[in-house]
């Protein structure tokens, strides 16, 4: 089912109308759960995998596909809180929740304005949102909770690059669940 959105004032896309996608409810429930499972399980086999933030990618994907800020907020909050529950004692529930809520809101707001269908723009948007995500997480942990988090620009830049590359493939995989 496709819901054509009205042309948004100030939109930077060349299209007359920005397509809004919907998903089956089963996909909406299962995709975040599967991603959380993969994020928790695979690092036992692949040690560098925690630098890839699959739940954040899913939040961005749903947000830009639906192009609805409220929906983006809710999706981000739920996926972020799910991710929080698997954290340890250094990780109070809500850190990823707050971060992903803001990312979901920003991604859906941006999705209304620009077309994010091609791999190049996806690469850039994931790169940018990953850096914002890390900055927000650092802000919440350091600013609200006084945690001794370390910020390294080089680490963030490399991680963002890795996330952007993986994210392009993940997005193309998730495109199969879109319904026009």
């Amino acid at each position: 089912m496709t819901t054509p959105a009205m042309p948004f004032r100030g939109s930077y896309t060349s299209r007359e109308q920005v397509a809004v996608y919907e998903f089956k409810w089963l996909a909406v429930i299962l995709i975040p759960l599967v991603v959380i499972f993969i994020q928790a399980f695979l690092p036992t086999k692949i040690r560098w995998l925690p630098i890839i933030d699959l739940p954040m990618m899913v939040v961005i994907f749903f947000a830009v596909a639906r192009r609805n800020p409220i929906s983006g907020c809710m999706t981000g909050a739920i996926i972020g809180l799910l991710q929080d529950t698997l954290g340890g004692p250094a990780h109070p529930i809500g850190m990823y929740g707050i971060t992903d809520t803001i990312i979901g809101y920003m991604a859906s707001s941006l999705g209304v304005k620009i077309d994010i269908e091609n791999p190049g723009s996806r690469f850039l948007i994931i790169y940018g949102f990953f850096v914002i995500h890390q900055a927000l997480y650092y802000g919440v942990g350091h600013g609200l909770l006084r945690q001794a988090l370390q910020w390294s620009w080089s680490h963030v830049a490399i991680s963002a690059l890795a996330n952007a590359v993986v994210g392009v493939f993940v997005f193309s995989l998730l495109d199969r669940f879109k319904q026009r």
Binding site: C73, P89, P92, M95, G141
Partner: protein, 428 residues
């Protein structure tokens, strides 16, 4: 009013969701969960995720075991032969270590040291992680149903892993030693300097609170000190990788963990640690004077030279030939050790047992004096008793206990006992 709400609906929803989460965050910080308590949302999430993780891990293990155990048997015979050779070599090693253990038990009994024994363990498989760089917790497939409780130690044969922080019915959360919240009582194996091993946000581990003027060598082993009451004393922790001056007069010692924390598959959870005194049944009775002699202040050993130029170490002032006349044993021990502490009792505790402790091999018979006792420093020459391996001193004429009279094949440098000279009265 409706227009404003409608116009800023998105922002209001965003603010409301964020506000609710910040309040929840603040509540967690203000009221952290009590020891062993688990938040309901974590319980639900773990209950939802861990069954799938368990299923994947166990299926993978089954396939792996089937392949290795029934199909891929190449080089098994060769490996079997190598293992048999290894067993033979280790049997020899075990025989040597048994002697050392006997000596150690004897000394520990004297000093009333309590040993910590791992009484029971539960093998568990690592089934998951937090999936985040900031939190390095692990999940294992054993929980409260298997007797797991918070603060139990998690180890591997190569080194310690961490401790249990949260327990669910079918799984548990492990805080590894490289997590930024972790702290382990550790000591440098050679120098016995004690500090705290702490993890960092980037996954490194550092040994802290070692003074900067202490000598620390690269590659030195780090073991548990037992001070945290979680890990038994003496377990391998890691090796020193770098030593740098830190802040506040302390060294910043980076330690590489012995256990491969990034590639863990199976771990052991220590479910019961028992503290007990070493079994002294086979070591003979302990007398009050034995224990007392260990606790009395020491008397430094001085070298006395007799007319023939033979040197003999004796306790100053107090004449006790037993100390000076046991080569490789009491005479070579440092002042202040059990050997030289109390001359009056040295025949009992200061002579017989510390000799066994200081000399290589507890079961060796203690030989006769290698040097002639200095005149005036003794009132009687020690009487060797090759049959029992005990030496009777002047002031402590009674033999304390029998030591095994067996002599290991690597017996060295101990000359045979000379017969007492004329004019010297052997003690009774």
């Amino acid at each position: 009013m409706d227009t404003i709400l409608g116009r800023y609906k998105n922002l209001i929803v965003l603010a409301a969701i964020l506000f609710a989460q910040i309040i929840a965050l603040a509540m967690q910080v203000r009221r952290p969960t009590a020891e062993g308590e688990t938040r309901l949302i974590r319980l639900w999430a773990t209950a939802a995720v861990t069954p799938f993780e368990k299923a994947v891990v166990h299926s993978q293990k089954w396939v792996h075991d089937t392949w290795d155990g029934y199909i891929y048997l190449r080089h098994v015979d060769q490996e079997n032969q190598q293992l048999r050779a290894e067993i033979d070599r280790m049997k020899l090693e075990q025989a040597r270590l048994r002697e050392d253990a006997t000596m150690a038990r004897r000394i520990q009994t004297l000093l009333a040291f309590k040993e910590q024994y791992i009484d029971s363990t539960v093998a568990a498989q690592v089934i998951g992680t937090s999936g985040s760089e900031q939190s390095r917790v692990l999940y294992i497939d054993k929980g409260s149903k298997d007797g797991i409780k918070p603060d139990m130690a998690v180890i591997t044969p190569t080194g310690i892993v961490g401790k249990i922080v949260q327990v669910f019915p079918g799984s548990s959360q492990v805080l590894p030693i490289n997590d930024q919240l972790s702290g382990v009582g550790a000591a440098l194996k050679a120098s016995r300097l004690q500090g705290i091993l702490k993890g960092a946000a980037n996954g490194t581990t550092t040994l802290q609170y070692i003074m900067s003027d202490e000598p620390v060598k690269l590659g030195e082993e780090v073991v548990t000190s037992g001070g945290d009451r979680i890990f038994p004393k003496g377990f391998p922790v890691g090796t020193v990788a770098s030593v740098e001056p830190g802040k506040d007069l302390f060294l910043n010692i980076r330690v590489i963990p012995s256990a491969r924390l990034d590639r863990l598959e199976e771990v052991l959870v220590v479910t019961k640690i028992q503290e007990k005194l070493p079994d002294a049944k086979d070591l003979g009775p302990i007398r009050a004077s034995d224990i007392l002699s260990e606790r009395l202040p020491g008397v430094p050993v001085t070298q006395t030279v007799d007319a023939a130029g033979n040197a003999a170490g004796t306790a100053s002032g107090a004449a006790n030939p037993a100390q000076s006349n046991i080569p490789g044993g009491a005479a070579t021990a440092k002042p202040g050790t059990a050997t030289t502490r109390n001359p009056s009792n040295s025949g009992a505790a200061g002579t017989t047992r510390p000799t066994a402790a200081a000399s290589p091999g507890a079961s060796r018979p203690i030989p006769a004096p290698a040097t002639k006792p200095a005149n005036g420093s003794t009132n009687a020459a020690p009487k060797p008793n090759p049959g029992t391996g005990t030496v009777t001193g002047a002031t402590t004429a009674k033999p304390v206990r029998k030591l095994p009279a067996t002599l290991p094949p690597d017996t060295d440098q101990t000359p045979p006992a000379p017969p007492p000279k004329e004019g010297e009265t052997p003690p009774q």
